[in-house]
Amino acid sequence: MDNSVNERRLRSVFDAIDLGNNKKALQEVEKVLKKTPNLKTGLALKALALIRLGRETESQIIIDELEKNPDDDSTLQVMTYCYRELDQLDKICTIYSNAAKKQPGNEELLTQLFMAHVRVNDYKSQQAVALQLFKAKPKNPYYFWAIMSIVLQALRGPDSKDKEKSKVLLSLAQRMIDKLIKEDKIEAEQEVQLYINILEYQEKYEDVLNFLQTNVCTNFFPSAPISIKIEIFKKLKKWNDLMLLAKELLEEDPDRWDYYQDYLLSCFELIKTGDNSIINICFNFISELIKASTKVRGPYLARLEMFKRMRDNKLDPESLMGEYEVLLLDYFRIFGNKKCCVNDLKLFLEYLDTDRRSQFASKLLQDTGINSTSLPQNKDQLQKHICSLQISRLCGSQLSLSVEHLQALYSALTLHYEHSFSAFDKDLLSTDIATSDQYAILAAHVMYDLAIKLNSSERLVETLQFLNYLLRNSPSNFHAKLLCLQIFHILGCPLGAHKIYDALDVKHVQLDSMGYLHCAHLPLSGINTLSKPIYDQTLKFFTASYKDSLEYLAMSYKFGSFSKLQEFMDFREKLSNSLHYSMISVEALLQEIVCLNGNHQQNYLQFQNMRIEPNEDRIKYEELTDNRDLNVMLRWDPIYDEKQESVYDKIKEIEKESFIQDTELLQLRSSLLRLVAASVDLIHLPYGNINSNTKEHNGHNTSIEGVDENYKIILESWIELNSRLKKSNYQRTSSQFLVNLLPSRLHYIIQLPYDKVFTSLGKFVYNLWMSNDKAKVFAKDIQDAFIEIKNSLENLKPIGDNPQSIFEYRDIQSNFIGFVEIMSLCSFVLSNCYEKYNQNQSQSSSSKKKKQTSNVNDNTNTLSLKEKGVLILDVIKELKNLLSLAESCLVKLKPQRIEKTLNEYLASLSIIPKESKKVNQPDSTTTVLSIDIDIHTIFDESYHQTVKELSLLIKDKLKLINVK
């Protein structure tokens, strides 16, 4: 057959695949295969279309057949796609390796083979192929692919742990480039860069310095960053050289913080050697820069940094520079009108003596010229005033305020906001963030302090009102959105949180770094229609990125960006080990089981399609990474608390602790998922208490003994984990400040009767399966646990209109949702028990009789099928009661009525709200949607949505277990 004819025929298939129309692709390729059934590319395309249609088993058969002998380019390429999607990357190596053997020296095939090895991190094979390539086509890039592959063996491969081997490999890599340099064959910047890196890996720093001077380096790498030299000077402790270099760089650009740090580092290292004259040289240099500069922050900050370092080194900075406080005040006077001033000063406040801090704060405030009777007259004064207020908070001045004072401060801030917004920010574009917004943000923090003091959720509702007012005026202010999001979650209002989250437009990598702010709280929301799309989006991001990012490793070789290779590899690991990723994977599966809403058979089928493998927990807990962007929310919380303990140390502690607790939570949830899945799997396996030879009996592959053991291990580990967690005494992390991380969900889970219910359910299922009459005991245990839930539900007080403490509603709602989850999972397991044993009772009564008679004499503890049925029914009956009770209790979740509408609330603050102001849209197509969440009604709406979904869920469960 003529190749071009085939090519033409397949074009429509390729087109359909490109367009993502896999159904059409399949139809088209079937047509082609009718005429030429052995056309390999056609078969490969069929396999690809099948994979993309989710028919992997069929596709695998075709691929296995093709694997034996693909040779043409296009078949190989299509198969590469197949293997990539099936995550069988090693097979790509196999097919290209076979093809390359047939056509030795084929550049294209070898290149593909090299990339195939790259995808599986097989550096040694990479090296071999690269050298083959170089032999076939002596081009520099191939030679450097080989060198890079050697470097990776030294740094990351199995040999990297052996210091000697690693050393030998690196020196080999260096010699390979040395040879090229000698022969004058260097061609590109990247080659020079790699050479420098190899020298650095071997700690041959002097050699780097010398090499930087050579013609090869200056010709091919003219853009060599100065940072290379700086790092080398540090490594070699060439402090004098570093000082001179940094000085030179600073004279050119006096606003570079990195150069100042290098400069100061070198100065203080020289001082340590006893050269005290450096102190004056250093100080004079910085002073000159200050004199010469026109209002750049650099030299001023450098002066503060120098003060800090002198104090750290027990030198006497005051006698040289005067009072620290004066220096800080100077800084504020010059740069207080910049938004970043507070961030700058924050770095230096802790060096201010404790007793001076609040005094300093009032000095700043005085300096702004604004007091209780005056208002900012211009934007500079406005920003300065805001900065002084933020610093006053940082200095702890707001820590000891009484309730009345906090209230007054809040009112003052809201009025300042209102005034400044009208005076200075009215004409901003919708894409701008108003300067005056900062008052409102600070007000939110102050109001939270007040709410904590009074332990009253009402104050947080007021904060939401005010932030929402801000967002009407300034719809781009993401800081305000983040605070709203946080408060909605604190108050247990998932619908409000969802709306504000939507407005943040979180996507791609943000799904990981910001997932902790919303997605991670959703299992507590009870609104599955809100959480499911976000779980799906999140999981899709991770799986797609993991696959896609692989191609960038290949790309780095193509472009010779060797410096990025290791970074890409680390990044891929960081993404795939993300705690958030594992957590959401598990939650999504649990949610899917909870939400199964068909009849028993449909549910079971769907469950099987989930392909949960209970026997192994594939999560590598030791390697989990924390990818949260924990600084995304701004804070100016006091640097020291009343006891003069560092608040920021505590915040770091909370961050660490929350990661630890969430890791435990993940273990617990994963263990629950596996236990539930294993229980259901067990129910559907042939009975356990049948002596030997059951294997053939039912045609099942798994040995019964193995099943038995595996199940016991899963159950045991669940029990152990629970008892360990109960003993471990984890504390809820502090919620002292508004943007502290919310306490881990772990605390909800461990105080709910998950342990009791699923331990007894697990044992119950096991004994049913073993036909052991101990099942009776565990049936009773389950019922007892249910009664415990029943009592909790009955004792639940309706929220009503009584004042609530801050976390009260969230706690109650979360517990309730936990109960519903427990019941839902039980319903699923028990419906399987019922169907299995009930079905068998009617269908296999004859075979059962046989078994019973044979067993009756030697085992008095066996359980007849009929008895099993009765036990299951008993438990189900109790569960039914419980579900009905839960449904009737939903009304108890009705939240407190929000008294005031926004306008009424603003009026209480003496703010006369403008007629819903039209936000200026810029003349461009970038538009910012205005946000208007009605706080007055959102809590009620959220409640109704929760109730609607939970009650539907409960009804489904009642239907599922509706047996007589």
């Binding site: 570079r256 913080w257 740090q261 910049k338 990598v509 960006s561 990025k564 960081k574 600084n631």
Partner: protein
Amino acid sequence: MTSLRPFVCNDMFKFNGVNLDPLTETYGLSFYMQYLAHWPEYFQVAVAPSGEIMGYIMGKAEGHGENWHGHVTALSVSPDYRRLGLAATLMKFLEDVSEKKRCFFVDLFVRVSNQIAINMYKLLGYIVYRTVLEYYSGDENAYDMRKALKRDVDKKSMIPLSNPVRPEDID
């Protein structure tokens, strides 16, 4: 007050203070990784003394012959670090790299409505070289702005075109 350093993958976990701003788009990973893989030296991040990301610039070098030039793909500054001359610092960095790579000029595209940015680029020595029709989503036009580098002695790259072009005609 800035530290400049090459953008690394991990910065993507921390650039939210810049990217949550409505004028900055967050792209899929491939977009960033493609630039990191191809033009790592052109992707720089500006870091505040506190370690916070203040802004970043992404760019590339491309073109043949006298069209060999540096291109600014994205320039973003956090709203908390505006009016400090940071954009100018980042632009200067990119121009320096392009200069060392012996480019003839640097160019960039900007929404015609983004007057603030256009003025800033003019202050930095850029001129509107041509208008690109319906370049942005929502069919907004773009200005292609340029600044000649030392190698373009006669500043040939800065002679404006009188007629607008369509996006498909940009080389």
